[in-house]
């Protein structure tokens, strides 16, 4: 076996070693207060969710069981900076199959929500959020498409109430959270 370089050794250590200083024992309680994540502590790590997760079959790092374990252990910093949490495709297979009714997809959502509250949001979501604020729709429907609709005999799509939407963004505190998001 070839000898590892110092840098490689260091990298391996960082990957595999859990430092107790890295653990936030309160994190599981913080998460369990978020809607849908109440049962994070009853997960007994059977692995059914990972076994049945379509994303886990095609990604080497996305493992719902592991996300729950990391949450239970309190690996807050790692979880909230890990892009892997954005890979859940919300198929809800794990919710339907979990013997403990943990609601994994809702816990992943809670982790994502918290990540956004800490100022990180993937670009795709930034675009959709801004579209909703601007038009009420998740996508901008161009004039050309509107004209084509007309030609096909379709009625114009309903007009969203943008004032209402802007107000809801403000009072739910979402506008404030968005100010913190780095793009």
């Amino acid at each position: 076996m070839s000898k590892l370089t110092k840098a490689e050794e260091e990298a391996q250590k960082n990957e595999t070693v859990l430092r107790t200083t890295e653990l936030d024992p309160k994190f599981k309680y913080e998460i369990s207060k978020l809607p849908g994540a109440e049962k994070v502590n009853v997960c007994f790590q059977c692995g059914t969710c990972t076994a049945d997760c379509p994303i886990a079959r095609f990604d080497d790092f996305y493992r719902p069981r592991k996300l729950i374990r990391m949450t239970q252990l309190g690996l807050k910093e790692r979880l909230l900076s890990d892009d892997v949490i954005w890979l859940c495709s919300t198929c809800f297979t794990c919710i339907d199959h979990c013997p403990q009714d943990v609601g994994i997809a809702s816990i992943v959502r809670a982790l994502r929500n918290l990540t956004v509250a800490h100022g990180h949001m993937p670009a795709g979501y930034v675009a959709q959020v801004s579209n909703i604020l601007k038009t009420g729709y998740a996508y901008i429907i161009s004039d050309m498409r509107l004209k084509k609709r007309q030609q096909k005999g379709l009625p114009p799509p309903p007009k969203a109430n943008l004032k209402n939407i802007a107000k809801l963004f403000d009072i739910t505190g979402f506008s404030k959270a968005l100010e913190k998001v780095e793009t």
């Binding site: 809800f92 795709g124 009420g136 084509k148 379709l154 799509p157 939407i165 809801l168 739910t172 959270a177």
Partner: protein, 293 residues
């Protein structure tokens, strides 16, 4: 005279990418005597906001539901995503006082209050349960018995089971029965309920494309002449992205993907042009010609 009437929740993805789904749905529903009332002041169902801010999703969805409650009509969606969110939030508003109070604290600021008394249905529920198989079979005078297809119902029309519970998500049969009502044969294939992966397209393209490719392979293996969808997102994956998958993996599928109302429409003798069959990315001319035999 129309005997069934719904508030039509169009959503964002259909007017943006797939007018063919709307055109064909409106056409067959009109012929079946179903009246659609346009939804006033609709906004996005809320689904895209759930990952970033759950409260914001709840509030946007509840705003739509309040408008529906005012109209006193059941809501019908064509999109699995819209159905999933609106149905879920509606049930949560009704059953969970805390959620109701939290959401209405927000909504009251814009003069609204949602009670969770709406009824939300997807197109396939309207067809199967309200219009009914008998009426559909009677309307499907041009039985498509030379056609072999497969179904793909998608996830959010069935999962999570606790909130929907209309059929077994592991073995969904509503769409299958609707397909069989047209006379077409609905073949079984491997991993039928598997997800299309579309919700993460904006974050990672490789995984959804691989999921889609895998399903196209399973569909091809059973010799289906077409695949039938009832969700714009699934449709985008299997139809619009099919040529991309063929290029990326250097494979050939050539599987036409039809919106269910397009299939139903052909069995009702509606000409393919009126069902926007030409809008599909994968050419469906051969399917149309089999259907007209």
């Amino acid at each position: 005279m129309a005997d069934l009437k719904y508030l039509f929740f169009l959503g964002c993805a259909i007017p943006y990418r797939l007018p063919s789904y709307e055109v064909s749905s409106r056409k067959v529903l009109q012929k079946l005597g179903v009246e659609l009332v346009e939804m006033p002041e609709f906004n996005c169902c809320g689904f895209p906001l759930d990952p970033v801010n759950h409260d914001m999703m709840l509030t946007l969805a509840a705003r739509n539901l309040y408008l529906a409650e005012q109209q006193n009509l059941e809501v019908m969606t064509l999109c699995n995503g819209c159905f999933g969110i609106l149905n879920h939030v509606n049930k949560e508003l009704k059953a969970d006082k805390n959620v109701r109070e939290k959401v209405n604290d927000y909504l009251r600021e814009i003069g609204m209050e949602a009670k969770g008394t709406a009824v939300v249905k997807h197109l396939i529920h309207v067809l199967a349960n309200d219009v009914g198989f008998e009426k559909i079979k009677a309307a499907a005078t041009n039985q498509l018995d030379k056609l072999r297809v497969v179904q793909h119902s998608g996830c959010h029309v069935n999962r999570p089971k606790e909130y929907i519970g209309l059929e077994d998500p592991e073995n969904p049969t509503i769409l299958k029965k609707l397909i069989e009502a047209t006379g077409a044969k609905c073949l079984n294939y491997l991993d039928e309920p598997e997800c299309c992966g579309a919700p993460i397209l904006g974050v990672n393209e490789q995984i959804p494309l691989q999921l889609t490719r895998e399903k196209l392979g399973h569909v091809k293996a059973v010799g289906a002449q077409a695949m039938i969808t009832v969700c714009p997102y699934c449709h985008i994956m299997y139809d619009l992205n099919q040529p991309r998958i063929e290029r990326a993996f250097n494979e050939k599928y050539g599987i036409p993907v039809l919106h269910y109302p397009q299939l139903l429409g052909m069995s009702m003798g509606i000409p393919p042009e009126e069902l926007a069959l030409g809008d599909l990315r994968v050419n469906a001319a051969e399917v149309a010609s089999i259907c007209s035999q």
